[in-house]
Every structure is written in structure tokens, then in C-alpha cells.
Symmetry: C2
DNA sequence: GTGAGGTGTCTAATTTTTAGACGTTCTGCA
DNA sequence: TGCAGAACGTCTAAAAATTAGACACCTCAC
């Protein structure tokens, strides 16, 4: 079975980290953990992290998840390509929704089901690893742009920063 | 004040449609409404729709929102670029979350606040209208791909479907 | 130490993009 | 209805980018 790279787990409860490490050791090549959210960006700068599992309920400071959202945004800002999965209390769906709208890839409620957790993490990584060719990306973006301009090719070309003729070329090539 | 194009509102309650039409007439150039979800794709095929406001609680058939999710998916499949905003019952956050994960742009709970509704719709449209140049999109995708390959340029070039030299060129041009 | 794989650089041929021009068609508006 | 501005479709020649292929160098695992 292929392993899934490096995961970083952030939770202020050390025993949860131990449980997680034990659970995920077989799935990931490397499992990093920290109780200090301040360490997140430092760790991510030191080495490539493939996914972050972030607890939203820090007992220190305000307990409304704002701190979790703060760190989520900080991670997203520095590493927009790294998926972040949230851990929230079972009741706190609202917070999870806020998290999703701030770019989290998914969320998991505590207490969690081990199999489901692993499955969700794998899903997220499988999803985001679909890197497409530059041509394919270009095609898709051109299609979106033309659609956005309701078919006005002149305007679409201008938005795309290319000449109208080049847009014709690219469309002909399909 | 610039108007925001065409909105399509889908709700099986005709009086809600009337209220919506009255509310949104000043904000949108054209307000289309229907009580028949079957009409959605037909209408969208006939003319460009800029945003869809979709009720999730159809009284006909099952009332667990599955029908709403079904239509959301149908819209997303045919028109992945058109934002869909969901209308759900106040209690039904779970359904809204499912909707967001199925590609909805946002959701609004019934009963709704008029100002908030208009504001959310505008937000969604302002957001998605950020079409970037082809170069910018290319840069971003290249950055993501290289990151995904942890810096292995040969592998990144192959994934992108271009030669290594071309990747060098594009990176030099920044 | 050696072989596989990645890097950085080069060349010459090919392809793409560009600016600019032209007449035609569409569209909004008076 | 007719007009003007905008978009369309097509063309040219010059400039720029991409390509395949080659070469020497590095470094890491075995």
C-alpha cells in the first residue's frame, strides 16, 4: 500500500496526539505533531507537509474556535495548496461550516471514528493530487472565461491577456 | 448602481417566488422564477444565467433535501461555472453543509433577512467574477504542480505536459 | 564506485503569438 | 427603420516560444 507523505497534526491535548500518531503511522510516511499552533508555519517552512489536521478547540484563550479559524487562515495564506482538515466538537457544525468557507478541505467531529478519519484524509489527498496538464487547465480556464463573457470572444481574449487571434487558435486546437 | 445580470430562483412555493421577485428586481437585470425544478436546465440552456437560488425543501416527494441535492448536482454538472446559492430551513445546517460540499457557493436559511440575502448574492457574484489572465492562471498552476512534486522539475514538467526547458522558460519569466 | 535520475545549459527546426489590417455581420438605440 | 459602434472571421509578416535532442555535471542509493 502506498503511503501518503507527511501529515501534521495540531491539537493542544497531548494524549490525542499520541492516539493520532498511533492511528496514522501506517497510513503516512511521516506523522508530525505539535501542541503549539505557533509551530505550524515554522514546521511547514522547514519541510513539505502534504496535509494538516487542525483542532479547532483550543482550551487556552477564547474557546469559540476563533483561534482555530485564525490558524486555518494563516496556513491557507502561506500554503494555499496544502489541504487542511478540521477537528471540531460534535455540536459545533457552525464552526465547521465557517472553516469550509475559509478553505478547509473537510472536517471531522470529535469523538471521531478511526476508519472514517483515515478514509477522509485519504479522500482529500486523492482529490487534490489530481494535477492536470497545462493544456487541460488552459482549456478549462478559457471555457470558463468565455462563458463568463457570455460568448463575447473579444472581451474574453482581453480578460485572458491574449490576442483575439490567439484565442481563436487555442479554440481551434480544442 | 450596476445590476448583476440574470438570477434564476427555484422554489415550489409561488408566494415565495413573488416576494423574491419583488425584492431582487432592483438588484438584477432579469429575475427568472420557477416552481418546477425540471425547468432549471431547460431555462439555463435557453439563456445565460449568472446565479441560481435553489430551495432545498421540496414538499413533493421525500422531504429530506435529497431532491434539492439532486438538482444542485445536476446544475453543477451542466454549468460548473454558475454559482448556486441554497435556501434551507433554519434547522437544516447539515443539509447546507452537504450542499457546500457539492459545490454550492453559499446558503441562506429560512426565514431570511432581506438585506443579508441581497448581500450574500452580491458577494458570491463579486467573488466568482474575478477572472484572471491566462498567464496568471498558468503561473499559479505551475507553482502548485512544482509544490506537489516537492520541487522535482522534471516530474513537474511531465505532469504539466510540457518540456523541462519550457518549464525553465516559464519560471524565468516568473 | 557506479549507475540511475535530476540539473543546467545549448542548438536548430518548428510552431505559436503578435500587431495590424480588412470587409462583414451583429446589436443597441434614436 | 437606419445608423454607429462593436464583434467577427480572416489574412500577413515579424517576433517569440516550444520542441527534440544532446552534453557535462551532481548526488544519492546500493
Amino acid at each position: 500500500m502506498n503511503k501518503y507523505g507527511t501529515i501534521l497534526i495540531v491539537d493542544d491535548n497531548a494524549s490525542i496526539l499520541t492516539a493520532m500518531r498511533y492511528l496514522l503511522d501506517g497510513t503516512f510516511e511521516q506523522v508530525l505533531t505539535t501542541t503549539q499552533p505557533d509551530d505550524i508555519l515554522k514546521l511547514m517552512a522547514q519541510q513539505p507537509i502534504d496535509i494538516v489536521l487542525l483542532d479547532m478547540n483550543f482550551t487556552l484563550g477564547v474557546n469559540n474556535g476563533n483561534e482555530g479559524l485564525f490558524w486555518l487562515r494563516a496556513i491557507r495564506k502561506q500554503h494555499p495548496q496544502t489541504p487542511v482538515v478540521l477537528l471540531t466538537a460534535y455540536a459545533d457544525v457552525n464552526l465547521a461550516v465557517k472553516g469550509l468557507k475559509n478553505g478547509a478541505a473537510d472536517f471531522i467531529t470529535k469523538p471521531w471514528d478511526n476508519d472514517e478519519l483515515v478514509h477522509k484524509l485519504k479522500d482529500v489527498l486523492d482529490m487534490q493530487s489530481e494535477i492536470v496538464s497545462l493544456d487541460e487547465m488552459e482549456r478549462e480556464h478559457i471555457r470558463r472565461t468565455i462563458d463568463h463573457c457570455h460568448g463575447n470572444l473579444t472581451q474574453a481574449a482581453e480578460l485572458l491577456g491574449i490576442t483575439r487571434q490567439t484565442l481563436y487558435n487555442k479554440m481551434k486546437r480544442l
